[in-house]
Each structure stands twice: as C-alpha cells, then as structure tokens.
Symmetry: C2
Subunit: 268 residues, 2 copies
C-alpha cells in the first residue's frame, strides 16, 4: 500500500519502509509491478521521475531546481514524481519525504536488461547505488525485455523473494545488488545465480542524418558485444534461464593496479 | 596543436593522438590548460560539451539526437563541441571524428575536486571511464578549486608528467586514473601519491524555495563528510599537499560479497 502521509518518519505499523523508484518514469508498467512485489513486504513509498530517464547514469541535477509533486490516478495515490534524475529521486525521497533512511530501496523493474557494462549507464542501477552510498540496503531490478507490454509476473515473484531475503538477512557491507530477470515465464526460470559482471560492452555507432536545414545530427546506436566466455557471469545466467544477482561496489578503487603504478617513477 | 583534419585515421607525424574532453564545456579555462599540457606529448583533438555538464555522471543521450560542430576562436580552431554529455563526446570522437581509438583520452581539468565518492557523480571521470571501457588509456584530472579563475599552472606540469608516464609505460589493465590536484602553487606540491578512494560522501540537503506561483522547488545542496581516517586515501593526499592518483575500476563486481550471498537460500 502506498502511503498518503507526506512525512513518514516512522512506519505506523512497524513494517519496513520500502522506497521504490525507477528510471522509466512513474507511469511505466515496470514500477507498478515492483510496487506490487513490495506491497506484501512493507510500507511502500514511490518517488520516481516524471519522465523517462534511461541512460542517465549517476547524473544529479545541480544547474536547475527540482520539482516534486504528488501523483494520483483514478483517485488512488501513486506516489511522488520528481522532475530530476533517478539519483535525485532517492536524495529527495530521503531528505524531503521520508525524513529518514528507508529500510530498503528498490529501483525498477527496468524495461530492458542492466546486466554487465549496462550497470554503468543505467539510471535504474544508479538510483540503487545512491541508496547504497547513503547506507540503505538497495537493489536494482531489470527485465531482459524492452517492451512496455512485457510480462512482469515472474519478476514480481523473484523481486519479492530477493527483497525478503535481504530484509531478513541484511545486505553485505558496501554493496548493492544488480538483479536481472530473463524474459521467461515463472515455470521456465531455473532459479537464482550470484554472478560477476560479464566483460561485455557496447560497440557504439551513430546514425547520421540531415535536418531540413542541411545540418547533420546523430542518433546513438550500437551493438552489444560479450567478450566473456565464463559461466559465472550475469550474461551467462540470463542466457541460461537464471535470474542473475551481481553484488556491486561503490568503492571503485582498482586495488590490482597499485603494484604496477607504484613501480613508476612519479617524482619529478 | 589541435588538428584541423576532420578524419584523423592516423597521426601524420606518428605522434600519439590524444583526445581531450571535459564536463565544464569547451570554453572552460580548465580544458585549455589540459590542451596546453598535452600539446608537447602528441596530436591533440578536442571534443567537449557545448555547455556545462557537471554532475552528469555516466549519462548518455538516447532520447534525442546529438549535434557536433567545429569551434573557432579568433580564427584558431579549438576543436568540436557536442550537444551531449561527456560520455557522448568520447563516443562521438572515436566514432565520427577520429575513426580510430586515440592513444590516450584525458578529461578535465575539472574546476573542483573529483576525489573520493565524487568519482561516481562526475562527468569528467565518466568521460575517462568511457574511454577505458573502449580500451583507451584514460585519465581524469581535477583541481581542488571550483573557481573559473583558478591557477592551473601546477596542474599543467603534473598532468603532462602523469600522461607521459602512462603513454610510455602503459595503463594497468581494466583501469583508468582519477587524478586530483591540491590547490597549491607548484613549489608547494610535495609529489604524487597512488591512493585508494576515501570513504566519504555527501550528506545532501535541499534548499526549498517558493516560486511566484506559490509552488515549491528544491535546489540540491549538501555537506561533504569524510569518514575515512586512513593516510592512504585521496582525501588525505590532497589535504597533505600531494597530487592524488586513484586507479579506478569499471568492473563493479563486489567479489567480497559472494560468500555471504551464496549462504542465503535462494531457491524457492
């Protein structure tokens, strides 16, 4: 149940407070499915972008002010919509709506996979990362299907299972989870695999076009290339019918590089 | 020297091709200083945003097309300006201007520090991360001074030294560098320290105001809090007069979390 209270300092029922956000915007079917999944686990508060924010990465809005408005639909209170990025939504939710850290922050369910390198570009995952930076157990969920008509029923089942597990057992320290669902009905999903991020990337291309004034413009396109042969990656898990769970860092220090860098003569 | 050729498939002089970008925009003093630093090391190609893009993180532009235009100033060719994000600039530079991977991608010099957690929000660092994902040795440079009148002369010296080192000795695998300069004259800088990312974060606040129509709006503000007592961090190095060099990952897998997650009962 979404709460109508503007100031939720404490859940009246002592149920966990669960912040739900996404990057596809508050009207996307994926976030409605995530609200459905969370509604049996706690008190759900939705703060999501007022427009699609896919590919926004960890952007924050500093050059202009933000708006935050209540959204109702057929008399039902859906949550708050924010004019900023997914990361802005998490910051505003904690600071201006909840006035406390929620017990869980979930983002998604994204329309499209955020496996492997997509974790870096994804607004969905950046919202979860912002939650984790703020010390909130945080999970991003994505379905490997870009369609607005995608079937999220299996995702609802697994998102609830994974979130319940984390609410009960806690999140590993300094970590968030990147969860991706294969586009399969519940019966055909083989289970959950804890995976590493596959070594894959986008080979970008640009579709160059000419405007009516003969000035060129460019649409970003690209091909996804998986260079990773491992069977312990998120890409492998998704291809083989598993839900992939990748634990994700927000300390980006490359400790493996210290030895090589310290061998260089840095003094002038 | 910035090249005037639109298609730089190969450096005519066999000098390294160095892509220079930033997030403060092509007219910022910091990028002019970085061009100056690189000009003795190779053939410099500038592709930078046409407007300030601070805090854009790893955002890419997928909902609208991009523009890419040549920029001249007093008859001198400065480079290309792009209507998109810092990450878009790197993608467009490789795909539409260079038609090859440059030998080095440098981003900055940012007006303001990108130490510790700022690596995640920074457009400067995201441009360097995009370069690294594409297999290009990549470095982001930032000065711990937000002013447009900051003195970049010491930065020019150290940016050249560090870049030359990497061009000569190569970059550790799967890594980029996050370089931050203390706001000190050259003589007072004690040298270079290879560091880890400090455990610090922004405690956000919002400045709530009322518009003339009595609708509230919010400006993101915040206080930077360093929770890290270590003397091996970038924050420590900057405070103690060193240039900090943090090797940065783009495989975000939290390997330390596997054991705890694999103990959970994931099967339904």
């Amino acid at each position: 149940m979404a709460s109508k209270n503007k100031n939720i300092k404490k859940s009246a029922s002592n149920k966990p407070v669960i912040l739900v956000t996404n990057d596809d915007g508050i009207t996307a079917p994926g976030i409605r499915s995530l609200v459905e999944a969370m509604s049996t686990l706690g008190e759900v508060v939705v703060v999501a972008p007022d427009s699609p924010q896919s590919g926004m990465g960890h952007a924050i809005t500093i050059g202009k002010p933000l708006r935050l408005d209540k959204v109702e639909f057929h008399g039902e209170f859906l949550g708050w919509q924010c004019s900023g990025t997914p990361v802005d939504c998490v910051k505003l939710a904690v600071n201006k709506i909840l006035h406390r850290k929620p017990d869980l922050c979930v983002s998604g369910i994204n329309h499209g996979s955020n496996s492997s390198i997509n974790v870096i570009y994804s607004g969905t995952m950046s919202a979860a990362m912002e939650g984790a930076i703020e010390g909130i157990p945080s999970i991003g969920f994505s379905l490997n299907n870009y369609s607005m008509e995608a079937d999220f029923s299996a995702c609802v089942h697994y998102a609830r299972l994974i979130s319940k597990n984390i609410l009960t057992n806690g999140m590993p320290s300094e970590t968030l989870l990147n969860v991706n669902f294969p586009d399969l009905p519940l019966k055909r999903i083989k289970g959950i695999k804890v995976c590493r991020q596959a070594n894959a990337k986008w080979e970008e291309e640009f579709d160059e076009r000419m405007d009516p004034r003969k000035r060129p413009y460019y649409w970003l396109t690209g091909k996804f290339k998986n260079y990773d042969k491992g069977n312990d990656t998120d890409e492998w898990a998704l291809k083989n019918g598993f839900v992939s769970v990748v634990p994700v860092l927000f300390d980006f220090t490359a400790h493996h590089a210290f030895q090589q860098l310290n061998k260089l003569r840095w003094d002038v």
